[in-house]
Symmetry: C2
Subunit: 169 residues, 2 copies
DNA sequence: GGAACTTACCTGTCCTGGACAGCAAAAAAG
DNA sequence: CTTTTTTGCTGTCCAGGACAGGTAAGTTCC
């Protein structure tokens, strides 16, 4: 990991968010790896532990991902035996995701890892500093969520409606 | 996007970071999509515009990703014609990544998009609130960076050294 | 009842990202 | 000079996130 030299001047807060997010997620991934879980898998399990059996659509909404991603995460957790699916008696389209005993066995470790992650993230900040930081984060989140698409930036003529920069030729 | 109901209580700051990061990145991706760029591609270009020709290893360090990821991004940008590689005269292993005129043509748009992103992120926060938020973000980043792996959480016996939860059986 | 719409899930594909292995060039050690 | 180590890049494998498209089950309305 680099010393994170001084960032670009443009959009300092956005850059800071992006950088913080990356290293934070990296740290989470490292802590989680000892458990054999990948990031997001543990979030799904935590939801199940907290709120009991859930439909995939609900899990997707809570994880902030879409239903397709949720499908795959559930499939992997199911293959690993941490989760089981049972048909929703109320709706034959839906299935309920349930944590198995093997899944429950991870709970303590996962919660410990999250506590550790929080501790490392917070470092030596005082409780009041933590409060301020949390308030800032929530405020920023609110702002971004409030975005219902704003004005557009002009595009260079050459690029209007062009293809995306994608796979190698 | 969901209403992002109240988060889990455990590790409020970590959760807040994770959620903010996701929606912020999503927003960035959406703004960028009109340009045909994917997230990270524009960061690489911005580095080139700011600091001129760079070696991939340096770009990797500055983007916070590794050299393998940088290779792929450079390949795609190169295929799209926004970037060119020329051998480093000082070191025949290395190649210098250079922005082409087509790449330079994106500069204004990309910078506008970042300005827009910053504006949306910041919302109606006052300058002093922004300062506080930025300071918090930087402080958190510092904390996470300072992590040189700490104590370990206990693992459930069943999982010690087990496989990771991976591909479907 | 039957047609049209909506919802829940699944699949395929693309991009990014991390980890690891391999190769070539450069630098360091002998 | 030769051997060893380090550095720079690439390919591959596998993860998640997002999008588009498709199927089956539910719902609404005629």
């Amino acid at each position: 990991m680099n010393p994170t030299a001084e960032a670009l001047p443009g959009g300092p807060i956005s850059h800071a968010i992006a950088r913080l997010a990356r290293i934070h997620q990296l740290l989470a991934g490292r802590l989680l790896r000892d458990l054999g879980l990948h990031p997001s898998q543990e979030l799904l399990l935590m939801r199940l532990w907290e709120s009991g059996p859930q439909r995939q659509a609900d899990l997707a909404a809570e994880l902030g991902t879409d239903s397709a991603g949720t499908t795959r995460i559930v499939q992997r957790l199911e293959a690993a035996g941490y989760v089981r699916r049972k048909p929703d008696p109320k709706d034959r389209r839906a299935s309920l995701v349930v944590s198995t005993p093997a899944g429950d066995a991870l709970r303590e470790s996962v919660e410990c890892i999250w506590a550790q992650l929080e501790e490392l993230t917070v470092g030596d900040m005082s409780p009041s500093e933590q409060e301020v930081a949390l308030a800032s984060l929530l405020r920023l989140e609110e702002n971004v969520l409030a975005t219902e698409e704003g004005s557009r930036c002009g595009l260079p003529a050459a690029r209007r409606g062009g293809p995306t920069v994608s796979k190698r030729a």
